[in-house]
Every structure is written in structure tokens, then in C-alpha cells.
């Protein structure tokens, strides 16, 4: 009996003493990563520079410099001693026709060199830059599980004030603000660029006829087509997820209201009614609803329109100004321009709790646009009275201000994934 008890107790105690740990707390730190082996050629340096910049921009990686003296290969043990979790190594070798062969390998140093990614590419010299972004995307996705946005682009309006006039241009740059290209230049105001879901077209508002018109321009060819040209406001175009509809704001009947234009048939349908101003529609990723800004409650607030039923529901209650809202791809949060007291900042609201987190702390932020992976928000802000691009991660931890350009940057729009 006693022995039994003792045995029981022993079992009990051994089970009590068995080491089963539960870890619920981690740190929020950048993933330490090393890059090695691409060589010292100009192409290699450029490539590594872009990857390095991308990973740094994301704020999710800590780039550990390779130990000196530089060697083409550093042992895993040394990397491990440097505290690196993973190492990206690669090789650029010239191939035929001025092409380059690029081999990369990503290994898990922490897990004793388990290879995570092995790829081989052949690109032209001019594509090395894009390839670098692509490699960044691959590495990013492999290590974070989130699709990278380093190959996506940003559209924005650049306003250059000249001596006699003001020049407006529709610019498209890499997501890091580099390599901007003008898609359209006008002496009249341009507004509200919006990427089509496939990334091939941009809808925007032009005042070239001294009144607002909504156009769609092909990114590749620059061809345009007019979508709406009603008296009054024609503004704030937004693409439905299937790319078949374009929601617009029209004031043809007096008050600006939401309409949707069927881009195939040309039919138009009014979405919101009443005497309050409704504007800035943004489709949810499932196409079932859209968010818009309305003054129907007295101050501008965000509302949700159910497209099937036409029901409208107020979404924001915190702050005295909420506008330009859009859902994250997973529909769990929405980002918006939010004013608590005086300053306009980028806010993110959790849809389950309604809690709003303010991500930025400058005086006047505007035009937040969400990255297609839902991780970052690009927005325009003012640095020394100049409009510049800035980026903030959705958790608010990573903030990046992009180099200023000659002119003011307005209304950035983040592209969808390409391909």
C-alpha cells in the first residue's frame, strides 16, 4: 500500500518534474541575416545593394556584415558566432548575350545549415535591378512567411511649382521610391491615382479640361480612356477586386455621392443616397462591400456599404476625423487618415475590437495606401513644407521616410502584386 502510494507519488512527482516548457513570450527583433559570396563585381555590388536595401527597408531584418577580411565563403560556424539566423549566398556569372546567371542559396544557419531556398536565374543586365527586388521578395517570404512587396511599385502625383506655372505629373517608382518614371505630365491638377487590380492600368482624376474627369491610363502604353465626365465632381476612383467596376464620386445631382461604373458595359449605378457628402470609396478584397468617407454624421467618418443590401454602417467612432479608409487584405483591420485632436495621422483600426492605433506622429499625414501584403502603409507627409513619401509598418514599428524629390509628392498609391 505504502509502496503503491510511493509509486503513485513517484509517478506523480516525475510527471510534475518532467520538463515540459511553455514559451509564450518572444522578442520583436529584426531577423539577423548575412549576405555573402556574390563577389566584388559592380553588378554583384549593385545587386547586393538592392537586396540589402530592401531587407533593411522592411525593418524585419538586421543585416550582419560579413566578417573581414572578406572571403567568398564564410563558414556557418562563423556566421553562427555572429548571431546570424540565415545566410543568403549567391553568385553572378556572365552568360551569353550580355546576360547574367545568378544563383542564390538561402540557408538556415541556426538550424545547422538547412537549405531554405535555392534558385537560379538568367537575366539581362538591365533586369538585374528587378531581379534584386525579386530575390528580396523570395528571401522575405521564405523567412517571414509574408509575400514580399519589393517588386511592387508606387504611383503618386508629383507637383512641381515652377516660375509661371505648376507642373503635375503622374509618377511611378519602385516601392522604395527609386527609379521614378513619369507616366503623364500636365499643367493642370492630377488627383487620386488608383491601380487596377492587375496593375496594368491606373485610374486618376484630371482637371485638364478645367473640370474634373476620371481617366484610365495604361501603365505600359500610356493610352488613356475617359470614364466619367459629369458636371461637378468626378473623383476618387476605386477599382473593384475583379477589375470590372470602378467606383467613383459624382456630384452631378448636387451632393457628391458614390456611383459604380461597369467598365465593360458602361452602365452606371448610384451606390449611396442622401444629402451628405460621400467620397473616397475603397472596395474590400472580397468585393462584398466598400468603405467610404461620409459627412452624414456631422464630421467626416468612415462608413461601410454592403453592396448586396445597400446597408450602410458607421465604422469609426474614435477621433473627430476619419477618412480614406481601406481594408487590409485579410479584412481584419482598416487603415485610415485619422485625426484625434489637431494632427492628421495614419491610424489602423482593428475591426473586431474597434480599437484605433495611431501609427505616425507627424503633423499632417495624408493619403495612406496599403501595400498588397497588408504589412506596410505608404503615405504622403510633409517635411519642411515639402510633400514626401513615407512608409510605416502596420504594427507601427518600422517607419521610413523616402528621399525628397524636387517637388511635392501627393497621393501615393501602392500597386498590387504583379504577376
Amino acid at each position: 500500500m505504502i509502496r503503491l502510494l510511493l509509486i503513485g507519488f513517484g509517478l506523480f512527482s516525475s510527471s510534475v518534474l518532467a520538463v515540459n516548457l511553455e514559451l509564450t513570450q518572444g522578442v520583436n527583433k529584426a531577423l539577423p541575416i548575412g549576405i555573402e559570396g556574390f563577389g566584388q563585381s559592380a553588378e554583384a555590388r549593385a545587386l547586393v545593394g538592392v537586396i540589402d536595401g530592401d531587407l533593411h527597408l522592411s525593418g524585419q531584418f538586421k543585416l550582419i556584415p560579413a566578417p573581414r577580411p572578406w572571403r567568398d565563403e564564410t563558414s556557418l560556424a562563423i556566421w553562427k558566432d555572429l548571431g546570424v539566423d540565415s545566410v543568403l549566398s549567391g553568385k553572378i556569372t556572365p552568360a551569353e548575350d550580355k546576360r547574367y546567371k545568378v544563383d542564390i542559396e538561402l540557408v538556415d544557419v541556426a538550424a545547422r545549415g538547412v537549405p531554405l531556398l535555392t534558385q537560379s536565374y538568367q537575366v539581362e543586365a538591365g533586369e538585374l535591378h528587378a531581379l534584386a527586388h525579386h530575390i528580396s521578395d523570395e528571401v522575405y517570404q521564405k523567412l517571414t512567411g509574408i509575400r514580399g512587396v519589393f517588386s511592387t511599385r508606387i504611383a503618386y502625383v508629383l507637383v512641381k511649382r515652377k516660375r509661371n506655372h505648376t507642373q503635375y505629373s503622374l509618377e511611378i517608382s519602385d516601392m522604395d521610391g527609386r527609379h521614378p518614371q513619369s507616366l503623364f505630365i500636365s499643367t493642370d491638377p492630377l488627383m487620386s491615382p488608383a491601380w487596377s487590380p492587375n496593375g496594368r492600368e491606373i485610374a486618376y482624376v484630371s482637371f485638364e479640361k478645367k473640370r474634373a474627369q476620371v481617366f484610365i491610363v495604361s501603365v505600359e502604353t500610356g493610352e488613356r480612356r475617359l470614364v466619367t465626365d459629369f458636371p461637378g465632381i468626378n473623383g476618387a476612383p476605386a477599382w473593384s477586386p475583379d477589375g470590372k467596376h470602378l467606383a467613383v464620386v459624382l456630384s452631378k445631382d448636387g451632393t457628391p455621392k458614390l456611383y459604380s461604373v461597369n467598365l465593360v458595359s458602361g452602365h452606371m449605378k448610384q451606390l449611396t443616397f442622401g444629402h451628405a457628402i460621400d467620397t473616397e470609396p475603397r472596395y474590400a478584397s472580397d468585393g462584398q462591400s466598400l468603405l467610404f468617407t461620409s459627412g452624414r454624421g456631422g464630421s467626416p467618418q468612415v462608413y461601410r456599404l454592403d453592396l448586396a443590401s445597400g446597408d450602410v454602417k458607421r465604422m469609426t467612432f474614435e477621433g473627430n476625423y476619419n477618412a480614406r479608409a481601406s481594408y487590409t487584405p485579410n479584412l481584419r483591420q482598416m487603415i485610415m487618415l485619422h485625426r484625434e485632436d489637431q494632427n492628421f495621422n495614419i491610424g489602423v483600426q482593428a475591426l473586431d475590437t474597434g480599437r484605433v492605433t495611431v501609427l505616425t506622429d507627424s503633423e499632417a499625414d495624408e493619403s495612406p495606401s496599403l501595400a498588397p501584403n497588408g504589412r506596410f502603409v505608404i503615405y504622403a507627409t510633409h517635411v519642411r513644407d515639402q510633400g514626401v513619401l513615407a512608409m510605416v509598418s502596420l504594427d507601427g514599428r518600422v517607419q521610413r521616410a523616402f528621399p525628397a524629390r524636387d517637388g511635392d509628392i501627393q497621393e501615393p498609391a501602392w500597386s498590387p502584386f504583379f504577376g
Binding site: Q25, D85, A110
Partner: protein, 306 residues
């Protein structure tokens, strides 16, 4: 006894017979002179028996006597004389015969006496023998009794002795039992004490080990936690479980993902953290370390630090 009685009767009858014979021999002349008397006496002696007969024959006898008396007295005297001679001869014969008979009787008596003597002797002998036998018997009996008594005494004594012995034995057994009991109790006490002590020690040891274990559990968790870079936007509802094998110096030998969260990034982040935390803090105490040879770790990205 029975013989004794028969002899006695025989002897008495023999003596009486001889006495009568002797008496008869002595009084013979008178009886010859008065035979009638004798006859009468004889008759008288039997009178009571034959009264009736006497009365029936009285008459004829008297008549006869009257007729004979006068004539034939001489004849009668002669006859009486011859008769008397005859009687004398007969008497002589009888005397002889008697003498013979007496001799014979004497002889018989002598033999009888001898026999009696013998008998007596025999009887005496027998009596003696019986007496002796009796005595012997008695003695024997007495002896037997004595013996019996002695035996009984002895038995009693033995019994007493046995009882005493038994008592003693019992006492000794009791004493032994008591001693045994005491020994048992002492042993039990000692055992219990040892057990208690062992238990105390065990408890203390366990507590010590448990203390060590708790301490190192916390240390290990801290070490891994510091290395665990939580993936962005990780679902805090997820969890993965690992089996970790440790070397005595705390070095991580193996990390086995035994239950994936379904999120490879979360799984890998935790795995990297475990490897990077190597060597983990483990107790030097071998008993305590044994518990850390293989540990399981469940990670659940609930909290973020820093």
C-alpha cells in the same frame, strides 16, 4: 472354603457314628436282657410315626401271650438260652465284626485322620498359601497401590513439573514473543524512522531537485525567449511543440518539431531560437540534469517583449 465345609460335615458324621458304635458296644448286656424294651423303645421312638399301626395290632398280641405263657415257658427258656448263645455268638461275631469294623474304622479313621491331617495340612497349607497369597496379593496390592500412588505422585509431580515447565516455557515463550514483539516494534520503528528519514530526504531531494528544475526551467525559458524573434502578424492562437535533446553541458543536440503550428515561419522561428539559445542553462546536479536530457517545449506567440 467349600472343601473345608464338606470335610467338616464328613468328619462330624464320622465322629458321631463312631461314638454311637462305641456306646452300643458298652451297653450291650442290658439291651440283651431287655430286648422288648429295646424293641418298645424302638417302637416308642417310632411311636409317633406308627400310632395307628400299634392300635390295629394290639389286640391279637395280647391273646397270643395268654395262650403261650403256661405251657411253653421252658421251651422258651431254652430257646432263650440258645438264643442267648446264639446271641452271644452273634455278639462275638458282631464283636469281632465290630472290632474289625472298629479296626477298619480306626484304620479308616487313621487314614481319615491322616487324610484330614493331610487335608488340614493341605488346608493349612492352602490357607497359608492363601494367606500368603492374600498377603502377597495384599502386599502386591499394597505395592501396586504404593506403586500406583508413587506413580500417581510421580505423574502428578511430572505433571506439576510439566505444568511448571510448560509455565516456564510459556513464560519463556511469552518473554520471547515479547522480546520478538519488542524487536519487531523496534525494527518497525527503525524502519519507519528510516522510511521517514528516506522520505524526508526524498522530499528534500525532490524539493531540491524540483527547486533546481524550476530554476532551470525558468532559465531555459528565458534563454530561448530572448532568442525567439516572433514573426510579424503571427497568429497568437497557434502553437508548436518541440522535443529538445540536451547534452550535459546544455548543448542542444536535436530539435524535433513534434507538432507543427501549421505556420512554417512560426515553427522555424522557435526552432532557430532553441538552437541559438544553445548551450542552454542546465543543472549540474546529475539527478536534476537527467530530467533535462529530453525536454518538450510548446511555443505560443502570445506576448512580445521589447
Amino acid at each position: 472354603m467349600i472343601y473345608d465345609k464338606s470335610y467338616r460335615v464328613a468328619l462330624a458324621s464320622a465322629v458321631v457314628l463312631h461314638g454311637l458304635l462305641f456306646l452300643a458296644l458298652i451297653i450291650h448286656p442290658e439291651s440283651s436282657r431287655r430286648p422288648v424294651l429295646h424293641h418298645e423303645a424302638k417302637r416308642d421312638s417310632t411311636a409317633s410315626e406308627s400310632k395307628k399301626l400299634d392300635e390295629s395290632i394290639k389286640e391279637p398280641k395280647i391273646i397270643h401271650a395268654v395262650s403261650v405263657n403256661s405251657q411253653e415257658v421252658q421251651e422258651a427258656v431254652t430257646r432263650l438260652k440258645t438264643a442267648r448263645a446264639e446271641e452271644r455268638r452273634v455278639e462275638a461275631n458282631r464283636q469281632r465284626q465290630l472290632k474289625n469294623e472298629a479296626d477298619a474304622a480306626r484304620r479308616l479313621r487313621i487314614t481319615e485322620q491322616q487324610r484330614v491331617q493331610q487335608l488340614k495340612a493341605e488346608q493349612a497349607r492352602l490357607a497359608e498359601k492363601r494367606r500368603q497369597d492374600l498377603a502377597e496379593n495384599k502386599k502386591l496390592l499394597q505395592d501396586m497401590n504404593k506403586q500406583k500412588e508413587a506413580e500417581e505422585k510421580r505423574i502428578l509431580a511430572m505433571k506439576q513439573e510439566q505444568a511448571a515447565m510448560r509455565k516456564q516455557q510459556e513464560a519463556e515463550a511469552a518473554k520471547l514473543a515479547k522480546l520478538k514483539q519488542e524487536e519487531k516494534e523496534r525494527e518497525a520503528r527503525e524502519k519507519e524512522q528510516a522510511r521517514l528519514e528516506a522520505e524526508r530526504e526524498e522530499v528534500a531531494n525532490r524539493a531540491r531537485v524540483a527547486g533546481i528544475v524550476d530554476k532551470y526551467k525558468a532559465l531555459i525559458l528565458g534563454a530561448i525567449s530572448r532568442q525567439w524573434i516572433l514573426p510579424d502578424q503571427v497568429n497568437s492562437q497557434l502553437s508548436s511543440r518541440f522535443k529538445i535533446r540536451l547534452a550535459p553541458n546544455g548543448g542542444v543536440l536535436d530539435v524535433d518539431l513534434i507538432r507543427s503550428s501549421g505556420d512554417p515561419i512560426l515553427d522555424r522561428s522557435a526552432q532557430a531560437a532553441i538552437y541559438k539559445a544553445s548551450p542552454l542553462p542546465v543543472p549540474e546536479d546529475p539527478a536534476a540534469f537527467n530530467l533535462f536530457r529530453e525536454i518538450t517545449l510548446t511555443v505560443r506567440p502570445e506576448n512580445v517583449r521589447g
